[in-house]
Structures are given as C-alpha cells and as structure tokens.
C-alpha cells in the first residue's frame, strides 16, 4: 500500500465517480418521467413512440404494484424462454462460424436463468460454447433488459416512498423502454467505440488461426476412432511410489489413459462482436464475459485505461440513483447520506483487499517469490495488485461479477472481501437499481431499529413504518440468507458438490459458499475453479439465482405499493432524521451487523480459517 501512484489512481476514481453522480442523477429524473425531456428526444422519441405502438403500450397509463409486478414477471418469463430456446438450438441458427453445438438442457436453463436475473453466472467457457448469435441475441438482450428492469423497480420503489395516498407507482413498460433507449443504448454506443480504440475486438469473422513462432509439444490423451480415451492397465502405486498389493499379495491394477505427443504450431485467436457486449456488460452491472477469462482477457480489457472506464461504468448508474432518490423525495441530504454509507463500506473493502493482496502469500515467499510483488497468481501485469483488488471490490459491491483477476487465487482475506460484499446483499452501490432497492430495505430496517431504541413509531420520510412493512423487509433478508446457507450446506454434504471442487481444505468450502452467495446475490463472479457445468450444480445454482432475484423483487414491489398508499405525517421534534452522520453510521451498522451475524460462522469455516492456516504454512 506504500504505492503513491495507486493512491492517486484511487483518488481519481473517486473524483470521477463524484463527478458523474449529479449530472447522471438529473438525467435519470428526465428518463424515468414519461414526459421527461432529454437532448436525445429528436432521435429517440420517434423510436420510442413506434415501440409503444407496435407493442400496444399506453405510456401514460400507470400501474398499481400488482400490475407492475405482473408485467415485470411476464417480461422476465418470456425472456427466460427466449434465451433457453436459442441456446438449445444455436446449431440451427445463423452466425455460428465455429459450428458450435446446441447447449445441454441443464446448461441452457442455468444460463437463461443467469442472464434473465442480471447474474451472468457462467458455467461454460464462452469462446468454446456460444455462437455469435447466442452471444449477441440470447445473452446480450438480457444485459440490456435485466439492467433496465432493475432500474425500473428502483424507480417504482422510490415513487412509492415519494408519493402519498397514491394507488399507482408508474408503468413498467414505459420505465423499461425509456431507460433502455435514452440511457443504456446511447452510453453503450460511445463506450463500445472507446473500448475498440483500446483494443477490444468487434467483428463477425471466424476465429483466426495464427502460425506461432515457437512450435512446442504437449502430451494429450490418445483417442480411439470414436473419440474415447484409450486406457491401459498399470499397477496402482501409493503416495511413496510403492505398488499397492491386494489381500492375495498381487498388485492392484488401475486404468490409466495412454498419452501421446502432439505438436502445437498454431494459436486459435477468438473473434466476434465483443466490444458491443462488453460495454453493456459493465454499464448494466451484468458482468458476463464474452470469453472465459472475462475482463482479465486482453480482448475484453486490453489496457489500464479501459479498465478504469469499465470500473467507473459499474458504479456510475448505482451512484446516480442515490441522487435520483434525493431529488424524488425532495431531501437531497438523504440521497447523499445513502451514498455516504455506500462509499464508506466501499473504501473499507478496497483497503482490506488491497492490503491482503499486496502482502502476498508467505508460503510462496518462502519459496523465493519476491515479497514486494504481492500475490500475482491469477492477476495480469498491466493491472497489477491495486487495480485487481479495486476491480474485485467494485464488481462485488455492485452485482456486476466481471473479474479482471481470478478471485479463486486471491489470498484468504483478499477473497473474503468480495465474498462478504456479495453477502451484504450487494448494497454498496450495488447493481443498477438492485443496489438502491436493496439498500432501501436496510434503510427501512435501520429506521425501524432507531424507532425501537427511542420508543417511537418509526417514520421514514414522513411515512409510518408499520408491522406489514417490516415483515416484508425481514422476508427479503431471511429468504436470501436461507437460500445461500441452505444450498451451501446441501452441496457440502453431497458427492456432486464435492466433485466440482478445484481446491481442497477450507478453500474448497469457500468455492461452494462463494458460488451460492454469487448466485443468490445475482453477482455472477466465482471462485472459478469450481466446475459447475453438471446437472446438480447447474440446476441448484439456476434456482438460487431465480430465488435471489424474484423473491426479493416481489416483496419489494409490495412494499412500494404499501408505502405509496400511506399518508404523510408532518415532521416533529422527535422525528428520526434520515440524513447526516448519525444516520450513516446507523445504516452501515445495520448492513454490516445483519451480514456478519448471518454469515460469520460460514466465513469462519472458509476464508478466516484459511488465513491462519496460510500463516502456519499448511497446504492441502
């Protein structure tokens, strides 16, 4: 951490984030108002009107919370099926120059659930699985729509808070269309071209085969005519290399694959429409990579400059939404207080992860690795320690899930930060929309706790918080925690759960805990050593993602509807102020305490114990 340049980069990041928050927040005011005006009206307005006409939408007709929720669920269901069908039959569809086959049912379900819920968990290797058509149509459509849906829900909840004695909270279709057309597409177009200028590819050519400079030989399993591995019977040996004998004193025989040498003198270089997808992957906090290595891959994140704008684009909309909140409830200091609580937790996460990664791994340092270099396993030279730790913190504060370094190879505490960030419910800026509506759950809870402490009926911005509201809040928190811990426990005691692991010991447990936290939190990043493309993992993770998204959204919509219908009561001397330092501290306390109380035992069995074992030099 004694790297002044890294501190300067951090300061620039914070400065840039602050700089975009207000203008983008004001722009959101216009976008989320059906009659709002923007400088894009001349171009976009006709397309918007045409969309409403083609789809039979009346943009002026507002919906109650049930109508809004129905529209949202119907839209998600159709999108889920749309993607599932394309993925299953991509071999019969155009733009498949590599001739990739259709996906298995469990992988298609997992992936469709993953992209519909803004998770972008990927059980597959992108470049070896998805045709250009699947990437561009089946997956990228959700990068836009799941982001737009998230922002729409946040707007509906904010309207519910801001209105009084109201029956409606907006129109889902209008919100989704306007966010997509006025915000996501224009920004992504410019952003994508900038990314190409840094080296991200954008073409429709088949993969390029390059003739490499130094051919080399690898050992691969020999295959017979049918493509099955050829095996031979050899005596089994124990750990010391001695043959293992059975009871009769004969050597035990095992099958071993026959290896043959293969000369490698080419490199197959991935091509495709990458830039257009990466722009919305970051701005929409989706995070699903075009290629397996995600933003660590030079074609997805070629330069430190592209890296800077990618992490800025993750936080841009979530940060602006706090400003939107302040404007809408006519209490800008409340918006900034929510921002402040998010910001404080963000900085804390960065500092812990950065320190842990910069200190590196004492086990490897004993072997002769330069201690000053930190932990470079799974990291890229151009990003180095600081930008890898910063990216990991941001991508898990938000529900993005893109990675520019492999979290699985982080030090235990460096990996604990992303894991805990996800387990707070991703409310530290959070996903687009999802971060704000998640945080407002904690705001209501914080206000409720404050009310209990002073013995008054809790109020939030002039609305009484009553039993029904608190029940909805608790329902959300309980469902999420129970799903993460329940599924992790199930995987830990199931053969299929253990079969997917890449690491043993506490790190193996962390891989499972991270997978379900990521799925329920709709994050999508992973301790990626886990092999999850298998029916049990694909199915449980798919269910976890759907639960994490929709069992959170429905109670939140009910809360929005209930708050909208309440009357405003004038503030009095005893009203708890939802602004300023006290409120920020109370809000952070609520988030951290709920997260810690729920997940500390599980975290203790994973990264915490691994940290001490690493110090003691224990290997698995």
């Amino acid at each position: 951490m004694n790297n002044p340049n890294a501190w300067f980069q951090f300061a620039l990041y914070v400065g840039a984030l602050l700089l975009v928050t207000k203008p983008l927040g004001l722009y959101l005011m216009q976008v989320l108002d059906p009659r709002g005006r923007t400088w894009l009206d001349a171009v976009v307005r006709p397309v918007e009107r045409l969309t409403y006409r083609l789809c039979g939408i009346n943009p002026e007709q507002e919906q109650g919370w049930i109508g809004y929720t129905f529209a949202l669920l119907a839209f998600s269901l159709v999108g889920l099926l749309f993607t599932y069908v394309i993925l299953r039959y991509q071999d019969h569809l155009p733009l498949n120059p590599q001739g990739l086959p259709g996906l298995t049912p469990h992988l298609a379900f997992n992936t469709a659930a993953s992209f519909t819920t803004n998770t972008n968990w990927q059980s597959y290797t992108g470049e070896a699985t998805m045709s250009y058509f699947s990437q561009m149509v089946a997956l990228a459509i959700h990068n836009f729509t799941s982001a737009a849906t998230g922002i729409a829900i946040a707007a509906a909840l904010v309207r519910g808070i801001a209105r009084q004695s109201a029956q409606t909270i907006g129109n889902f279709w209008t919100d989704t269309v306007r966010v997509t057309y006025y915000l996501l597409v224009p920004v992504c177009f410019v952003f994508a071209l900038f990314l190409v200028s840094q080296g991200i590819i954008q073409n429709f050519k088949p993969y390029t085969v390059a003739k490499t400079y130094e051919p080399y030989t690898i050992s691969v399993p020999k295959l017979d005519d049918k493509g099955n591995a050829v095996t031979t019977s050899v005596p089994k040996t124990d750990e010391k290399g001695q043959p293992v004998m059975d009871a009769a004193g004969k050597p035990v025989m095992v099958d071993q694959p026959v290896m043959v040498d293969q000369k490698v003198d080419t490199q197959t270089i991935v091509q495709g429409p990458v830039a257009s997808q990466i722009a919305i992957k970051m701005l929409g906090t989706n995070g699903g990579g075009y290629v397996n290595a995600n933003a660590a891959h030079p074609f997805e994140n070629p330069t430190p400059l592209s890296n800077f704008f990618q992490i800025l684009s993750i936080f841009a909309i979530p940060s602006a939404l706090t400003y939107y909140l302040g404007r809408m409830v006519k209490n800008q200091r409340h918006g900034w207080a929510v921002w402040g609580a998010m910001f404080a937790m963000f900085v804390a996460g960065v500092l812990v992860a950065w320190e842990a990664e910069a200190s590196g791994n004492p086990i490897h340092q004993k072997l002769g690795v330069a201690a000053a270099d930190g932990n470079m396993e799974g990291k890229e030279v151009r990003f180095g320690i600081f930008n890898s730790a910063l990216f990991a913190t941001i991508t898990t504060d938000a529900s993005c899930g893109a990675v520019n370094a492999m979290h699985d190879s982080f030090t235990p505490l460096g990996g604990l930060v992303p894991l805990f960030n996800i387990e707070t419910g991703e409310v530290i800026f959070g996903g687009v929309g999802a971060g704000l509506y998640g945080m407002l759950i904690f705001v209501v809870l914080a206000v409720f706790i404050a009310g209990l402490m002073v013995g008054r009926t809790p109020e939030y911005l002039g609305k009484k918080i009553q039993a029904y509201d608190v029940k909805l809040v608790i329902l959300v928190l309980m469902v999420l925690a129970a799903t993460i811990l329940g599924f992790t426990a199930l995987a830990s005691v199931s053969p299929w759960g253990l079969a997917g692991l890449n690491n043993s010991g506490p790190h193996g447990f962390s891989e499972m805990l991270y997978a379900f936290s990521s799925a329920v939190g709709n994050n999508g990043s992973a301790f990626a050593g886990l092999t999850a493309n298998e029916p049990h993992w694909d199915t449980t993770l798919g269910i976890a993602m759907l639960v994490g998204r929709f069992l959170m959204i429905v109670p939140i919509m009910a809360l929005a509807g209930n708050l909208a219908g309440k009357k405003l009561i004038p503030a009095s001397a005893g009203t708890f102020k939802v602004e300023g330092f006290t409120f920020i501290v109370l809000l952070i306390g609520t988030v951290v305490l709920i997260g810690a109380l729920t997940f500390l035992p599980a975290l203790a069995m994973g990264p915490v114990v691994e940290h001490y074992l690493m110090g003691a030099g224990t290997l698995f």
Partner: protein, 198 residues
C-alpha cells in the same frame, strides 16, 4: 390472470422489438464504427508478415521456451496459451499443487537466468496470469532475462536492454495501471534486429 396473459402478449412483442434494436442494430452500428475508425484493433491487433501470414496477436501471449527468446508468464489457458480457452489456474493460496508448481518455476527461473540460489524471483515470472494470455511481463522480469537472451544471440547485453526499453509500455497516461513489457512484440523485434544464425 387476464392481466397476466395480456402482459405476456406485450412481453413477446417487446422482446422481438428489443431483439431487433439491441441485438441487431446496436452491435451492427458499433461494428460499422469500429471497422471504420479502428480496423486493426477491431480485428484483433493481429501480427502479420509481409505475405499476409498471421503470426499471432499483439495482445495475446504465445509460448516461447528457448533461451534466445524472452519467456512469457506461465499459462493455464487450455494446454497452455490456448487463445480459444482462456483462464487461470484458479488454485488457492493453500494449494499444494500451486505450491509445487511455483517451487519448480522458481528453481527453473534461477537456473535459466544464472541467479543465486537465494535470489528473490519476480512474482509474475513464476505465477500464472488470470487470462493465461497475459501479453506482458514486469520490467524487473524482463531485466533478469536480458543477459540470457543476449548470450544466446551473441549480442552485447546493452543492445538487448535497449530493445526491452523500447518495448516497455509505461502506465497509461503516466497514471493508470502498471508498466510492462510486451513479450511477443519484443521477441519479433529481436528476430528482426539480431537474428540467430543457423
């Protein structure tokens, strides 16, 4: 229920409209702009010879193992440097396997570059990158390899060091990220300027 069915109809229609605009018009517009403004980058920053043979991408590492070339970081992509199967080892900090591979890499690096048995080795030289295709090595790593490369090519080490300096990319705008040396481009330049006599 009737509301829900109406919404299903709207959902189908709007999904089709979105598919045309967001999955058709948008990527095509980016494609047109990219091919017009930055054609080389949009097509993979390919390294080609005069006769058009593609030899690799300036952004992607490929395998170099002999003494006369600078060697890239270890790769866990496919069977190594497989640009159609990117990824890291994903081995954790207490992994025996990772420990063994780093131990072997440290010993090999010290032997190859004539370092003392207790000399610290740059971390990037003995760890695998995240993508398995990291095109760069650290400046310290390149510096330690320079003498070996110079000897194998029979040129003064200063000449090789000059070439390393010429292929070192500083921080973006002098601020962002970390400095690094592009291995492929450096090796191509070495072959051009100081070819190995056969």
């Amino acid at each position: 229920m009737k509301t829900f069915l109406t919404e299903i109809k709207t959902s189908v229609l709007i999904t089709l409209v979105f598919a045309v605009l967001l999955c058709g018009a948008y990527p095509l517009a980016v494609w047109a702009g990219a091919q017009l403004l930055f054609p080389a980058k949009a097509n993979g920053s390919l390294v080609t010879e005069a006769d058009g043979t593609v030899r690799g991408s300036a952004l992607l590492a490929q395998s170099f193992t002999t003494d006369k070339y600078f060697q890239p970081r270890a790769s866990a992509a496919g069977t190594g440097y497989d640009a159609s199967s990117s990824g890291g080892t994903n081995l954790g900090p207490t992994s025996q396997k990772l420990n063994d591979s780093i131990k072997a890499a440290v010993a090999a690096y010290r032997t190859a570059n004539g370092l003392a048995a207790d000399a610290p080795v740059p971390a990037d030289a003995v760890t695998s990158s995240g993508s398995g295709l990291d095109p760069q090595i650290s400046v310290a790593n390149a510096g330690l390899q320079a003498a070996r490369v110079a000897k194998a090519r029979n040129v003064p080490v200063e000449k090789v060091q000059e070439l390393v300096a010429a292929h070192t990319a500083g921080r973006d705008l002098g601020i962002f990220g970390e400095a690094g040396v592009n291995v492929l481009m450096l090796n191509v330049a070495l072959d051009q300027q100081y070819p190995v006599k056969k």
